[in-house]
């Protein structure tokens, strides 16, 4: 049943903090870093005002933030953290440990360009670099999506077919600091929706038990795992990621029932008869939608697809969303130095490799270090794609948009 929702003015950081307050996880361990700081500030206020029962651990580094979450989550507690850029980089080692130990931690990432040189503004170099760390990654376009993902993330992470950590990614400043109208659920509905944490069963020292640290049924978590079993454990982890594609849809459906908001992996827009289209992640997609409307008004048949889920990579949903559109431009805010293209471009091309009719695909890397992606730049991307259409081939695979020659 759809719940009565309250409209609030929240920026992306506040959306994450507010949703997390409603979930009231046992442990919040975080270290301040621009542009995520509002999250730790709000959460500290919730603690100071007695609005949550969470233990807020004001750690001395991001490495310790995620390490504390690992310890907490392993006891069966819910653990949340938030970071950006260099903070995420400092967590790197523990990212793999959290996912490898199958701990359903939830982390907000206010996407920011990685140093060096140091830059505090948005791009996706931080979380894109972590794409192989075994975390589920959701990219949000606006504060509403941040709120929704921050509630949903717990159910996804803790789903018995998944049991993996989740990153809720949203663009630093553009989303993290921009106030928007956000529909929020009542506390009790959120509490009921997330429910109690569930655990997978495992073989313990004294028989079958839940996978968590408990003095009554001791387990050794994080043992030395060599040639004999490590490989099997990694395959299990890989299978969990694959299974997540189905499981996340289940959670999305349940979420739709209470919010009326249909969450998808891909949001195609004006794709039915589009001659060229772009695909991308995050806040820039809002601007792209405007440009699509403008170009359509001018009689140019363009379309777009916004991706919400990047890990696991929704291949089927991607192919379906692109449909018969013959030319596809990938817009992304990350470089993979020395690679054939940016990470999103590479994965999208791989996804189409085995399809009979594949679109012509070109990569448009934009907005690095927070450079504004203006409607004009997006128009230039569409213009470039129309040329590709006309010519029937891609001249330049990787293009940097809005950059000095």
């Amino acid at each position: 049943m759809k719940a009565k929702q309250k409209l609030m003015g929240l920026n992306g950081n506040e959306s994450s903090a507010y949703a997390t307050k409603q979930v009231d996880p046992d442990v919040v361990a975080a270290y301040p870093i621009t542009p995520q700081t509002i999250i730790v500030e709000r959460y500290s206020e919730y603690v100071a005002d007695g609005l949550v029962n969470s233990e807020f651990v004001a750690v001395e580094s991001e490495h310790s933030a995620l390490s504390a979450c690992v310890g907490a989550s392993a006891t069966g507690a819910r653990a949340y953290t938030a970071t950006a850029a260099n903070g995420l980089a400092l967590m790197w080692e523990i990212l793999y440990i959290a996912s490898g130990l199958r701990l359903p931690i939830v982390m907000a990432v206010a996407n920011r360009a990685l140093s060096g040189p140091i830059n505090i503004h948005n791009d996706h170099s931080d979380s894109m670099g972590a794409r192989d760390s075994g975390w589920i990654q959701i990219y949000c376009e606006n504060s509403q999506e941040v709120y929704d993902a921050s509630v949903e993330a717990w159910r996804i992470a803790e789903h018995l077919d998944i049991q993996l950590p989740v990153m809720v990614c949203f663009d630093g400043f553009t989303i993290s600091h921009t106030m928007e109208n956000v529909y929020t659920l009542p506390d009790d509905i959120v509490k009921t929706f997330v429910g109690k944490r569930v655990f997978m069963k495992t073989e313990g020292h004294h028989g079958e038990t839940e996978f968590r640290l408990d003095p009554a049924c001791p387990l050794t978590i994080g043992p030395l795992d060599l040639q004999d079993y490590y490989f099997e454990h990694k395959v299990q982890q890989s299978e969990a990621m694959t299974d997540a594609l189905k499981a996340i849809t289940e959670v999305d459906k349940e979420f739709e029932e209470i919010t009326g908001r249909k969450l998808e992996y891909m949001y195609p827009y004006m794709m039915e008869d589009a001659e060229v289209s772009v695909i991308g992640l995050g806040s820039a997609m809002g601007t792209v939608r405007e440009v699509v409307d403008d170009l359509r008004a001018e009689g140019i048949k363009v379309g777009m697809v916004k991706m919400r889920l990047f890990r696991p990579f929704p291949v089927e949903a991607l192919i379906k969303a692109i449909g018969k559109v013959p030319v596809l431009g990938v817009m992304e805010k990350a470089v993979s130095f020395g690679a054939p293209g940016g990470p999103l471009y590479e994965e999208i091309r791989t996804a189409f490799y085995d399809t009979e009719k594949k679109p012509l695909i070109a990569d448009y890397i934009h907005g690095l270090g927070g450079r504004d992606t203006s409607p004009e730049m997006i128009r230039s991307i569409f213009k470039s794609l129309l040329k590709v259409k006309e010519k029937g081939e891609v001249d330049k695979q990787v293009n940097f948009v809005g950059v000095r020659e």
């Binding site: 029962n53 310790s64 907490a72 006891t75 069966g76 507690a77 050794t220």
Partner: protein, 324 residues
């Protein structure tokens, strides 16, 4: 909870069970068993990367009959922080899988590399935040798990594979980081030195540490036959000499009204009372291969003297702090 006795110890099964793959003569095994004899009830352990971790948990085997987690090398204290915070939250909420236990002790084990060096920041942070846990430093004075490389805990002149004694350089040129002073400077409620040559003393201190609310730090000196280069059956002998020579004096330090109160433990107190019983440092250095270059081919009287003087000074400072 009352003070631990040999009788209680004898009755309690080992929580680090036999069959682990640590080397013969490894003092870590002895020390950890003694510390775990002193547990008060439900306990959760966390362990840094190191000999103890790799040798006790080769999947699918485990030597731990307690809930145990290893995450990484440098984050043991942070992991313990998270465990402790989770227990606290569950108690506050009266909900969650650990809420049913009225009290759970959180114990972290780490080596000298994981404490003096790579894990130092996480440890300092966890102590500053005041988490209720016991950190046990198992100090074998080098990175033994990776093959005897020098750490901040390696003493002056000790030869390791990254501070070898060569024709020019006589082992490690730097002195051992005063980790206990640094930890005590945090205003931590309880710090104690452990030597497994005095097993009851180890257990009593561990029991005290568990009972204290807030962070506690136990520093165990754990001789390593491989790294210190002595026959494995000599472990306890070497350990005992460390205290008898005042290289590793045994004491406790607690806080009272913002002051650090030092108290020498019996083996060291008796030396303080009868200084003539204090053994020369040579007695400790000579049986160890890592100090061989101080004795052969030529005896380095100069370096031995320097070591003796520095030990004498530190011992004197400690006695002054302890008021003896």
């Amino acid at each position: 909870m009352s003070e631990i006795t040999f009788k209680e110890m004898a009755k309690k099964p080992d929580l680090l069970v036999g069959g682990a793959r640590l080397c013969a003569g490894c003092d870590e095994t002895i020390m950890v068993r003694l510390v775990l004899k002193a547990t008060r009830g439900p306990t959760i352990l966390t362990n840094a990367t190191g000999c103890l971790e790799v040798a006790t948990t080769i999947f699918p085997y485990s030597a731990w009959d307690l809930p145990w987690i290893h995450s990484a090398f440098e984050n043991t204290a942070a992991t313990a922080s998270g465990i402790e915070a989770a227990i606290k939250a569950m108690h506050k909420k009266k909900d969650g899988p650990l809420a049913k236990y009225p009290q759970i002790d959180v114990v972290a084990f780490a080596g000298d590399g994981g404490t003096y060096d790579i894990g130092f920041q996480a440890l300092s942070g966890a102590i500053e935040r005041g988490h209720d846990f016991t950190y046990v430093l198992l100090d074998n004075e080098a990175y033994m798990n990776t093959g005897i490389q020098r750490s901040g805990g390696t003493p002056f002149t000790a030869a390791t594979t990254t501070s070898p004694a060569g024709h020019v350089v006589p082992g490690k040129l730097e002195t051992k980081k005063p980790i206990d002073d640094i930890i005590i400077a945090h205003g931590i409620p309880y710090v104690a030195m452990l030597n497994s040559a005095w097993p009851l003393d180890v257990m009593k201190k561990a029991r005290k540490a568990f009972a204290v609310v807030g962070p506690t730090f136990l520093h165990g000196l754990v001789p390593c036959a491989r790294g210190w280069r002595y026959p494995p059956e000599k472990t306890i002998e070497i350990s005992r000499l460390a205290t008898q020579t005042c290289v590793f004096p045994l004491y406790e330090c607690r806080q009272e009204k913002g002051r650090a109160i030092y108290e020498l433990s019996t083996p060291s107190l008796s030396i303080a009372k009868r200084p003539e019983t204090k053994k020369p440092v040579e007695a400790y250095l000579e049986p160890q291969g890592r100090f061989r270059h101080l004795f052969r081919p030529n005896k380095r009287e100069d370096l031995i003297k320097e070591i003796q003087e520095s030990i004498d000074l530190r011992w004197q400072i400690l006695c002054e702090k302890a008021g003896v």
